[in-house]
């Protein structure tokens, strides 16, 4: 970041000298016209610009120095101080001094120091330079809230009518709140004076948000910083029992909001009562998330995985049968049947979601193992380590989580052993004594990402390269990318460790880590910065076996894309494609690379006359897929293809459609990764 600003430093020095020249002229004129408002203003502005620019471009002394003069002339232009010839002389002296400061890059010898202090003393006789304003104090409701602990807030966002008129967008604000954690948002619009008096430029909506987050109140308030004066904002901590934010609660809350006049007090009371009420109809599950909690309490029960699998199978059957019914209803055209089918479809979706949630388990359940591991490793190696876990309520299928424990443990071991340096080395490098290892989990598209981040010494690409050459895996001078070099670590037996320790360095690790991750159809990536640290990212696809899918045709065959990755569909107009080596499609805003699936899959049958293009999102990139026709949405019961087809990359499973035919479900991750590897480099520029 510093070298970035440096290039503008020169520019500022030039500009400053221009300003100082103009300033001298203004002062000379001002001597003759001490009452001239314009001239006083221009002196003020000059000092203001020098102060601002000085601070921006690394001239702290110039900035603080001119700050005094800015204040001085502010008082003068507000007529709280009269301009005297002494002040003008003082200002002339300051101009000379500033010139020297700029020339010397602010290095003061004793002589200059004296001049500097002298001038400042003289100014201070004229004005009381106001002390630097401390940052606007943030209201903190509860000190405790700044500790990382999950809490649930009720946020009442009551914008004034005029909020839209200064360019604010309430939706951006709400979006930002949603980024802080799990949220439920309900808006209520009231047109008290009826539609006739509706003014589209005003805002008639209030929002009630329930937020479960690890963040503090301050961070919530920050979001609304710009609209402080244009709204009323209530942030209330709900009673500490962990409210289960599920559909049952939301439906009840929603209907309460719709039926009643609402204000913060009333709603908070309603929610708190709902949690407390253990009798009667409004029972809501209270999940105790504390690690010390008694797992045998009434609120949770243990269920055998086999029973769950059985339950899942039955649910999958129901979804399939409902698919057949949907097809039947369409064909028969019987309205009554169609209606019943729609109801069934809604309920089936709910059933599906609920059953899946049972199998999903938050990462925090395995966290304690990592905590202990770090403690042990810390004492074994004598390195002090801070372990931070973020996003631990990210959920994964129970099986997958169990399978990930070993790989993550291994990566943490590596981070402690090879990554984090010992105390002295760290201090010499200007790092804090305690090393930091962070476990971060989050959702990305239809994947869960788990990162193991350390602030240690990073991985030496050079060392790996040398080792690879030594082992004959690489020829000297062969051109290879950093990613390819880092990938060598995943080869069995590959290690650059000088000696093998108890913990790691035997080279029996990374290949197993990679295998376990690819067994879950996932991927592992490395980012490293010498001297700064390393980040391993595990990307695991969410293995829901019933997903929303988009059904489309390619020739005679039907395929499915998970709806979660689908962005937009277009008619594929060849006119809009640029005939470069990378197929590019212009969607009106930007160029998107595309894959022609007929070619990619080598499908022999004829294409449709007018083809369509589906844009999918992947890893922050967008890629288009050229297909024949989009058929529609489909609830996909994902069935594995079996052992013989497990190895192939692009189809992650199949689904049986209502009429018994099979549609293949595409694994977007693998496909696009393959595609982008073949177009290395140029894709990054375009998207």
């Amino acid at each position: 970041m510093d070298q970035y600003i440096d290039q503008f430093k020169e520019k500022f020095i030039e500009e400053a000298s221009d300003i100082l020249q103009e300033l001298e002229k203004s002062l000379l004129l001002l001597e003759k016209n001490p009452k001239s408002k314009d001239l006083i203003d221009s002196v003020f502005r000059a000092m203001h610009t020098l102060k601002g620019g000085g601070a921006m471009f690394g001239f702290k002394l110039v900035s603080s120095f001119t700050h005094h003069f800015e204040n001085l002339f502010d008082l003068i232009r507000k007529e709280n101080l009269t301009l005297t010839s002494d002040i003008i002389n003082l200002t002339f002296d300051s101009i000379d001094h500033i010139k020297i400061l700029l020339k010397n890059n602010e290095i003061l010898d004793d002589k200059l120091k004296n001049i500097h202090e002298n001038i400042i003393n003289r100014i201070e006789e004229y004005s009381n330079v106001p002390k630097k304003d401390s940052n606007i104090e943030n209201k903190i409701i509860n000190e405790e809230l700044n500790r990382k602990k999950e809490t649930i807030f009720f946020i009442g966002f009551y914008p004034n009518e005029n909020i839209l008129l200064n360019g604010s967008n309430p939706f951006y604000l709400i979006e930002d709140v949603c980024k802080l954690g799990q949220t439920y948002v309900i808006g209520k619009t009231s047109l008290e004076n009826g539609y006739d008096n509706y003014n589209p430029e005003l805002c008639y909506t209030k929002w009630y948000i329930i937020l479960r987050t690890e963040k503090s109140v301050t961070e919530i308030q920050e979001i609304f910083l710009f609209v402080e004066d244009e709204c009323n904002l209530d942030i209330v901590l709900l009673d500490n029992a962990q409210l289960q934010l599920n559909n049952t609660f939301f439906d009840k809350f929603k209907s309460f909001v719709n039926k009643n006049d609402c204000n913060t007090e009333r709603l908070v009371e309603y929610i708190n009562n709902t949690i407390k009420d253990n009798n009667g109809n409004e029972i809501i599950d209270v999940k105790q998330k504390n690690e010390n909690s008694n797992l045998d309490s009434l609120s949770t029960i243990r269920v055998s995985s086999a029973k769950l699998d059985e339950l899942m199978n039955v649910v999958s059957e129901i979804v399939s049968i409902q698919g057949k019914l949907a097809l039947f209803a369409e064909k028969e055209g019987n309205e009554k049947v169609k209606i019943i089918n729609e109801e069934l479809e809604k309920t089936t979706k709910q059933l599906r979601d609920n059953v899946f949630n049972i199998r999903l388990v938050p990462l925090s359940t395995i966290l304690i193992r990592f905590n202990r591991l770090i403690r042990e490793l810390s004492s074994e190696t004598g390195k002090e380590i801070d372990f931070i876990a973020e996003g631990t309520d990210t959920e994964l299928d129970k099986n997958s989580i169990e399978l990930l424990v070993d790989p993550i443990m291994h990566l943490i071991r590596n981070a402690v052993d090879h990554g984090i340096e010992d105390k002295n080395t760290r201090l010499l490098a200007g790092k804090p004594q305690k090393g930091i290892i962070k476990l971060k989990a989050f959702y990305s598209g239809s994947n869960v990402c788990i990162q193991i981040i350390d602030d240690g010494k990073g991985i030496s690409v050079e060392l790996i390269k040398d080792k690879a050459i030594e082992l004959g895996l690489l020829k000297k001078g062969e051109k290879v990318s950093e990613k390819e070099i880092l990938d060598f670590i995943f080869l069995p037996g590959f290690t650059t460790a000088q000696k093998v320790s108890n913990i790691s360095g035997r080279g029996v690790g990374m290949d197993v880590v990679k295998k376990k991750v690819t067994d879950l159809r996932g991927d592992i990536g490395i980012l490293t910065q010498p001297g700064q640290g390393t980040t391993f990212t595990l990307t695991i696809p969410i293995t829901l076996s019933i997903i929303e899918g988009l059904l489309f045709s390619l020739g005679q065959q039907l395929f499915i894309l998970p709806m979660a990755v689908v962005d937009k569909c277009y008619i594929f107009d060849k006119e809009l494609t640029k005939g470069t080596l990378n197929n590019l499609f212009y969607n009106g805003t930007k160029y998107i690379p595309y894959i022609d699936l007929h070619d990619f899959f080598d499908i022999k049958s004829n294409r449709a006359e007018v083809q369509e293009l589906i844009v999918v999102g992947f890893d922050n990139q967008k890629v288009g897929l050229v297909i024949d026709k989009v058929v529609g949405g489909h609830q996909v019961v994902l069935k594995p293809l079996g052992k013989f087809l497990r190895e192939q990359d692009f189809i992650s499973g199949g689904s049986i459609l209502g009429d018994g035919s099979i549609a293949l479900v595409i694994d977007i991750n693998k496909m696009i990764r393959k595609f982008s590897e073949s177009i290395s480099g140029s894709m990054a520029q375009i998207v």
């Binding site: 502005r45 203001h48 601070a55 360019g167 951006y172 710009f226």
Partner: protein, 121 residues
């Protein structure tokens, strides 16, 4: 098409820094040297965000903000003004004139982008 941002500041080095920062993020940047100069950009064509300093010759920031809001095409354009910490009354004045939010000076380029993300996406 790229989003367009208008930067208005009488300091050339600030203009250049902001222009460079925004262009690196993929924005198209227009720049004016003061309020009066910047008015020529208010010709009805779409501007996605305006960033303006407050103290400028010919037409200062507050007046410029008022000018912007007076034009139908720019009634809802987000406007961020550059403010220094010791100028709270100015903040109120700017907001009353129609500003959406502010960026505190001095700022590092990352802070600029942060503030920007609060008002355009």
């Amino acid at each position: 098409m790229a989003k367009k941002i208008l930067i208005v500041d009488d300091s050339e080095s600030i203009r250049e820094l902001v222009t460079f920062t925004l262009q690196s993020e993929g924005y198209e940047v227009l720049s004016g040297i003061n309020g009066k100069d910047a008015i020529r950009f208010l010709d009805g064509s779409k501007i996605d965000l305006i960033i303006t300093d407050l103290y400028m010759p010919e037409m200062d920031g507050i007046s410029f903000i008022r000018e912007v809001r007076n034009r139908d095409a720019y009634k809802y354009t987000p406007i961020l003004f550059l403010s220094t910490e010791s100028q709270n009354e100015k903040k109120v004045e700017a907001k009353q004139a129609g500003a959406t939010g502010w960026i505190v000076k001095p700022f590092v380029p990352a802070k600029l982008i942060e503030a920007l993300n609060k008002v355009i996406r």
